[in-house]
Structure formats: structure tokens, C-alpha cells
């Protein structure tokens, strides 16, 4: 029984992390329609930023998080500004390849600057845990979960209640009409992409004390984030949240209840992805997918 509670706890905490990891991507995708293949690399940059501020100045990642998120948001916005004009006009295929290229550049810049050596951040709470009723409550993961929930809820509230947030949703739903309202669509694109990068950076900081940090760590998360976005439905923030928890529960279930499960858990995302594409490409909350395009 306690195993079951442990499972629920672990899956929930993972779900929170996945939600944080994906929600920015879903927003950027929904607003700009550009598929950000560099998403995983912004996460990686966040992790490195946390590492360096911890190693060099001794700042706890959680304190560094807001600053890192803002800096990476700015960096992401800068990258977007550079490519936006040509990228928006280019055919789909070119957009995909361009973002892939940017991902490569960032990854290998990291290799050149930081070397490929694995890094890690150990804070007092990275590994500590409390036990209660036969269930382990790992401090690090719980903190990550709480931070993730705060940020995601904050984003949703911002989108629903702030002027700019509503404008952003408007652009995602109908660009032309948004322009007619006086909304500067290009600025909103920039903001959406910046938020995407910022939240990715925050995710990176959050996992910096949970995983080892390498320049290529982003790729796995990228694929999972995309799997979640497709599962939840392209362009739907709620869908991304739901999808995050679905994947988290599926992965944790496999890890717990399937023999040799921990290794296979990595493959769950792909199985889920394939299943969605075969059964219901639009995902849980997405719009109808135009098949021939």
C-alpha cells in the first residue's frame, strides 16, 4: 500500500516538473506557430547558469532562479528577434530546420565553452528526504514541485487576467483580429518566445540539483516536451498541463510496476507519442489537425 502512495507522490512531483518544462513551449508554439527545437537547450542553459552561480558565488539555485529565468528569457527573445523576419516568412520545413540548427549552435557552444564534462549541483536538500508512514518525501523533488506549480499557476493567471496576457491569448487565437485591436503582434511573438525561453531556463535551474548537467541533456527533455504538447493538443496550455501529468504517471507506473521498468520508462514518451499520432493526432484538447498539411 505504501508503495502505491509512493508511486502517487513520485508521479505527481514528476508531473509538476513536466508541466513546468512544457508550458512555455506550448505557449510559444500556440502564439508564434514556430516549433522551438532549441527548447531543450534553453533548459540546459538554465541548468548551467545555476551550476555556475552555485560554484562561483555560492548562490542557492532557488534564489538564482528568477534572475536566471529573466536572463535566459532575454537571450531567447534576442535570438528570436534575429531570425524572426525571415523565419516567419519561410516555409514550414525551413522553420523546423532553422530551429534545429539554432539548437545545434547553442548545444555545441556549450560544449566549447563548458566542455562536455558532467557537472552537478549539490545543495543540502538535493538528496535529503523525510519519511512518514513508510513513504519517502524527498526534499529536493518536493521543492521543485512547489516551484513548478507556483510558476505554472502564475503563468496561467497572467494569461487570463493581465492586459498583456489576454493580448497574447488573442494573438494565438486570431492574429489579424488582434492587430485590429491595436495589439502589436510582433511584440507579442517576442514576449511569447521570451517566456518560452524563460520558463525553460527556470526548468533548468529546478533540475540542476536533481540531474547531472551536460551540454546534451536538453535533447531528451525536448522530445518529452514535444510528446506532451502533442498529447495535450498543440497550442493548448491546459492540454500541456494535463499531458504532463499523464506522461508522468505513465512513466512512473512503468518504472514501478514493470520488471526492468526504470530503463523502459524512458521509452514511454515515444510510445505515447506514437499512440497519439495513430489514434488521435489532435491530442486531448487540440484543434482538428489538418492532415494534408
Amino acid at each position: 500500500m505504501s508503495l502505491f502512495f509512493q508511486f502517487i507522490l513520485d508521479a505527481t512531483m514528476l508531473g509538476g516538473l513536466y508541466a513546468l518544462m512544457t508550458v512555455g513551449l506550448a505557449l510559444g508554439l500556440g502564439v508564434t506557430r514556430i516549433i522551438n527545437f532549441a527548447h531543450g537547450d534553453f533548459i540546459m542553459l538554465g541548468a548551467y547558469a545555476a551550476f555556475f552561480s552555485f560554484a562561483a558565488i555560492g548562490i542557492d539555485p532557488l534564489f538564482a532562479l528568477p534572475f536566471v529565468a529573466v536572463v535566459i528569457a532575454g537571450f531567447g527573445a534576442g535570438v528570436f528577434k534575429m531570425i524572426a523576419k525571415r523565419a516567419m516568412a519561410a516555409p514550414r520545413i525551413n522553420q523546423i530546420l532553422l530551429m534545429f540548427g539554432i539548437s545545434l549552435v547553442i548545444q555545441n557552444l556549450a560544449v566549447i565553452l563548458f566542455t562536455g564534462d558532467a557537472r552537478s549541483v549539490s545543495t543540502p536538500y538535493s538528496l535529503s528526504a523525510s519519511e512518514f508512514a513508510d513513504v519517502w518525501f524527498p526534499h529536493g523533488r518536493i521543492i521543485v514541485f512547489l516551484v513548478a506549480v507556483m510558476i505554472v499557476v502564475g503563468l496561467v493567471l497572467w494569461l487570463k487576467h493581465s492586459e498583456l496576457g489576454k493580448a497574447t491569448m488573442a494573438v494565438a487565437q486570431n492574429e489579424k483580429a488582434a492587430t485590429l485591436m491595436g495589439i502589436n503582434v510582433s511584440s507579442v511573438y517576442l514576449i511569447a518566445f521570451g517566456i518560452n525561453a524563460g520558463l525553460a531556463g527556470a526548468t533548468g535551474v529546478a533540475i540542476s540539483f536533481l540531474l547531472t548537467i551536460t551540454p546534451f541533456m536538453g535533447f531528451h527533455m525536448l522530445v518529452k516536451a514535444f510528446a506532451i504538447v502533442i498529447l495535450g493538443g498543440l497550442g493548448s496550455i491546459w492540454g500541456a498541463c494535463i499531458g504532463a501529468f499523464v506522461l508522468a504517471f505513465a512513466e512512473t507506473a512503468v518504472a514501478y510496476y514493470v520488471p526492468n521498468g526504470i530503463g523502459w520508462a524512458e521509452g514511454v514518451a515515444f510510445a505515447v507519442l506514437l499512440a497519439v499520432l495513430i489514434i488521435r493526432p489532435r491530442g486531448i484538447l487540440g484543434q482538428e489537425v489538418e492532415e494534408a498539411h
Binding site: 516549433i35 530546420l97 549552435v105 548545444q107 566549447i112 499520432l277 494534408a292
Partner: protein, 320 residues
């Protein structure tokens, strides 16, 4: 239709000269021949699928499958180098067809993500089935069966010519228009009497088979495979960089691009040494070319040629 045209004869002559090249040149050249030919096979394969609007971000899947097919049939069934190539091709075609069927009519982003998922999923499977694939530790090929490098390189060159010939044939065939139609609007392609589903299966089967062929040949050179080598992201990257460099969607683009890409790889290795550099440059090239030179080297060349030709036409007009 006569097959004896200037182009065909030139092509055959080139093949006759180049295929045995490794046997009468230095090991360095042999190495280059192998790498350039392998990349050509891979990039022509990628370019073919891209032509039909199917952007693969997981071409390493096919390469890896070919690798494992070759090594496993060699080790378990004692197949020789040349014999093991056949299972590689077959599995590539099979998985390509399956991919086509699974993705149905989905294109663009959805298709791209499917290929990504496929390559990662296959990697995980390779890691998790050590009894078959040697798992994370990897697999060595049966040393007794290994041929010399020159034979491998020669075979690679020959395979590259064959692969090019196939893509040449497809470009010249009635399917040429089908490709363009598929890329833009799958509905329209039906006007050419093409069944989109069957066409997609065909394209991906051929593309998959080609890429697997590349993997199958290459594994004999290194003699070792593990899931990270087989399904290496770098393979996927190279598969795209070469066509974009040379000229995406064109026949000769991947060929030019392969030569230039390997050239860059050699240059960065000599000048910089560090591993991150060549990939960094590839990424940079990818971005710069997509943004400013989307039709690649060949496309740029064609544009200059047209300007030149137009100039001559003007002169002719004036003289009249």
C-alpha cells in the same frame, strides 16, 4: 528511349574510375572516400523524403537499424560483408514502410516529431535488449569476417553511385511532378494519378532502405556498435546539413553538400581539434543557409548561371 546519352556515359565512366579508387590510393584518401560516399548515401536518402514534404529529424533511425542488421546477421548467421548488406536494406525498407503507414497523412511538424520519436525509441529498445543487441555495452563484429578497408570503401563508392542513379531515375520519371505536388499539397498530387498513401510508402521505403544501406556498410569499417553510436544524433544532423549546403530538393545538391561537409569536418579537425567545433559549424551553416541561402550552393550557382545566360541573350537581341 535510348540509354546511351552523354550524361549516362559520363556517369558510367566516372563510376568505373572512382569505384576502385581506394585500391590505388593512400589510406587517407580511402577514409575520405568512405566518409564522403556514406554521407552521400545518407543525404540523398534524406533529400528524397524531404522532396516529398517529409522532413525527417530521425534519419539516424534507419542508419542504426542497418548497422544492427548487418552486425547481427554477420555474428549470428555468419553472413559475409556483402551478404549482410541485404538484410540492412530490407529492414530499412520495412521500417520506412511502417513509418509511412503509421503517420498516415500527417506531415510537417507531426511527421518530423514522429521520426524523432522513432530514432529515440529505437535507441531505448537497443539499450534495453542486451541479449540481442549487446545493450549499452555494445557489440563487436565477428573479426574473422571483416574485409579490408579498401573493399569497404569501394563498396561504399559503388553504393553511392547506385543510390544516385536511383534518385536520378526518380527525378526523371513521371514521379518528379508527384514529388513537388506532395510537398505542396497532397490533395493536388492525386491529379497526377498518384495514390498519396502508396506514394508515401514508396518514398519512405526507398529512403529508409538507402539510409540503412549506409549504416550497414559503415559498421564493417568500425567493427563495433552501441546504441549511442548507431542512433547518433550527429547522423541525423549530417543527413540534413549536406542537402541544405548543396541545395535541398535538387538532384546534385546532396552530392555537392556531402563533399563540402566532409571537407569542413576535416578542416575543423585539423585547425581546431576539439569535438564541439565541427558540429557548431554545421549548426551555424544550417542557420545561415536556411536564412540567407535556402537553395544552397547549387541554387546559388544556378542563379549566377542564369544571370550570365541572360546577359548573353540580351547581347544577341541588341545585335539583331
Amino acid at each position: 528511349m535510348s540509354w546511351i546519352t552523354m550524361k549516362n556515359v559520363a556517369f558510367l565512366a566516372l563510376a568505373i574510375i572512382l569505384v576502385p579508387l581506394p585500391f590505388y590510393s593512400s589510406p587517407v584518401v580511402t577514409d575520405w572516400c568512405l566518409r564522403i560516399s556514406s554521407l552521400m548515401i545518407l543525404s540523398i536518402s534524406w533529400n528524397l523524403a524531404a522532396n516529398a514534404g517529409l522532413v525527417s529529424l530521425g534519419h539516424s533511425a534507419f542508419w542504426g537499424l542497418g548497422t544492427y542488421a548487418a552486425i547481427l546477421t554477420a555474428n549470428m548467421l555468419g553472413l559475409s560483408f556483402l551478404e549482410s548488406i541485404l538484410p540492412s536494406i530490407i529492414i530499412g525498407m520495412l521500417v520506412g514502410s511502417i513509418l509511412a503507414i503509421i503517420t498516415g497523412r500527417l506531415r510537417g511538424f507531426f511527421f518530423a516529431i514522429s521520426t524523432l520519436a522513432m530514432s529515440e525509441g529505437l535507441r531505448v529498445i537497443a539499450v534495453m535488449t542486451p541479449d540481442v543487441t549487446g545493450g549499452g555495452e555494445g557489440l563487436y563484429i565477428n573479426q574473422a569476417l571483416r574485409p579490408d578497408s579498401e573493399t569497404i570503401a569501394s563498396t561504399a563508392i559503388f553504393a553511392a553511385f547506385v543510390v544516385f542513379a536511383i534518385s536520378w531515375g526518380l527525378f526523371r520519371s513521371r514521379y518528379h511532378y508527384a514529388f513537388r505536388a506532395m510537398r505542396n499539397n497532397e490533395q493536388a498530387s492525386q491529379m497526377f494519378g498518384i495514390n498519396p498513401r502508396a506514394f508515401r510508402i514508396g518514398v519512405l521505403a526507398i529512403s529508409g532502405g538507402m539510409a540503412s544501406l549506409g549504416g550497414g556498410i559503415n559498421v564493417w569499417f568500425g567493427g563495433f556498435v552501441d546504441p549511442n553510436i548507431a542512433y547518433d544524433l550527429h547522423i541525423t544532423i549530417l543527413a540534413q546539413v549536406a542537402p541544405i549546403l548543396g541545395g535541398i530538393y535538387t538532384l546534385i545538391g546532396p552530392v555537392i553538400g556531402s563533399i563540402v561537409a566532409i571537407g569542413i569536418s576535416e578542416a575543423t579537425r585539423i585547425w581546431f581539434g576539439a569535438s564541439g567545433f565541427s558540429l557548431f559549424i554545421y549548426g551555424f551553416i544550417l542557420c545561415v543557409f536556411i536564412l540567407y541561402l535556402p537553395s544552397g550552393i547549387w541554387g546559388g550557382f544556378i542563379r549566377l548561371w542564369r544571370k550570365h545566360v541572360l546577359k548573353s541573350d540580351n547581347l544577341a537581341e541588341v545585335r539583331k
